[in-house]
């Protein structure tokens, strides 16, 4: 769309002044200004006023505003960054599983109830387990004492007896030993889980301590940078004043 300039059109004059009009329009206005004293005077005055505006400068205020970085974890390499909750749960389960499999390879097949025992339940049943263990120990001792008594009797007497009670005792002993091993496996797994939990807790405490230390360092560095900026500004002042004094 081609527009034509009309003498005294303030909008067109402002567009010409700020060089924001179409080239054809600009050419037309420039031609008009050579002939029209009123418009050319207006443009000169506006241009002069614009020049006056150049001296209006804001003071050199110290700014340097920054948002605080919320956490350092994101900056840490992946092997040092804390694990998310789901990964920690997986790790705990993995440790539990490893402990369980170690136990299984060492003894007879575990009962399904034991394998299905979750770590949290095992932790709460710690006291009960100890009581059971001591009870089992007592039973074992009494059984062993009974075996010893049986073994100390003459061979003839033993031979005269039937083999049935001896087999029963052996079975019971085996059963007791298996139970004992099972308890030990559970203890071992429990300890593993506790160890992992303690390790994670300690790691978190250490991380918090490191974060705090880094924060202190950042604070100190920020202060030093600010002081240096101020020093540079005062040096600039001095140089400027000395240059003006020459």
């Amino acid at each position: 769309m081609s527009e034509t300039f009309e003498c005294g059109d303030s909008g067109a004059l402002v567009a010409y002044l700020y060089e924001e009009c179409e080239p054809e329009m600009r050419k037309e206005i420039a031609g008009h200004l050579t002939q029209c004293e009123s418009c050319s005077s207006e443009i000169d005055d506006l241009g002069w006023t614009r020049q006056r505006l150049e001296v209006w400068t804001p003071p050199m205020s110290t700014l340097g505003f920054q948002l605080p970085v919320p956490a350092q974890e994101s900056r840490l390499p992946w092997w040092r960054a804390p694990l998310p909750a789901w990964a920690q749960a997986v790790a705990a389960l993995l440790i539990f599983g490893v402990g369980l499999s170690v136990g299984l390879t060492r003894g007879p097949a575990a009962s399904p109830q034991v394998a299905a025992t979750p770590p949290a339940v095992a932790a709460s049943a710690d006291t009960a387990l100890r009581a059971e263990l001591s009870q089992l120990e007592q039973r074992l001792k009494s059984e062993m004492a009974a075996i010893r008594t049986t073994a100390s009797t003459p061979v003839r007497q033993t031979a005269a007896r039937s083999d049935a009670p001896s087999d029963d005792i052996l079975k019971r002993v085996e059963e007791l030993v298996a139970q004992s091993e099972e308890r030990q496996r559970r203890e071992f797994t429990l300890r593993n889980v506790e160890l992992a939990r303690d390790f994670e807790a300690q790691r978190r405490i250490d991380m918090a301590s490191v974060r705090e230390t880094v924060g202190q360092f950042q604070g100190v560095t920020g202060t030093e940078i600010r002081q240096q900026r101020e020093a540079i500004e005062s040096i600039n002042n001095f140089i400027r004043v000395s240059q003006q004094g020459r």
Binding site: S10, A15, D45, T49, V55, W56, P58, P59, M60, R240
Partner: protein, 196 residues
Amino acid sequence: MTRTDEELVARSRSGDVDSFNQLIVRWERPIYALAYRVLGREEDARDVCQDTFLRAYRALPGFKGQAKFSSWLYRIALNLCRDWMRRQQRAPVSQMPEDVDAAELRSATEPAESIEDLVARRELSAIVADAMKSLTEEQRTAIILKEYHGMTFQEIADMQGCPLSTVKTRLYQGLSQLRKQLERRGHGVPALVKRI
């Protein structure tokens, strides 16, 4: 490698505070200068500048990039300036810069300016700041955005929410009014400048 505003905005939106801090470093001085010229007081301008970036950071999820980041920032800053002036219920004040100003620092690398010139320039700066107070808020803002931030008529129109022709009118009337105010203060257009 220098990242563009758009790249830094995208990173900031995904939670990278460092990227937003880079945007602050890039834009804090223009925003401060805008706030200073609109409000006329250094401390208020600093507060508005900080508040602008805080608000921008909070509103970042809603910024879809439909406008330039700088235009969006300017708009936030201008709204804050407007709120501040409404709260204060007063016109912008003119404050004689006590500190070194940008032009002075620039002059340090240029041929030395005499003390007389420096004093005269400071005086004129204060007179211009005072004369600007006589303009309406819209005229003053239009002149500031055009003269000191190099915005186009269209960008100013978008920012002020008015037609392009209104922006031209505000600029014309604002400059004319300013000229009269400067004349009244003894800084009129010298006769030599006028065309014969």
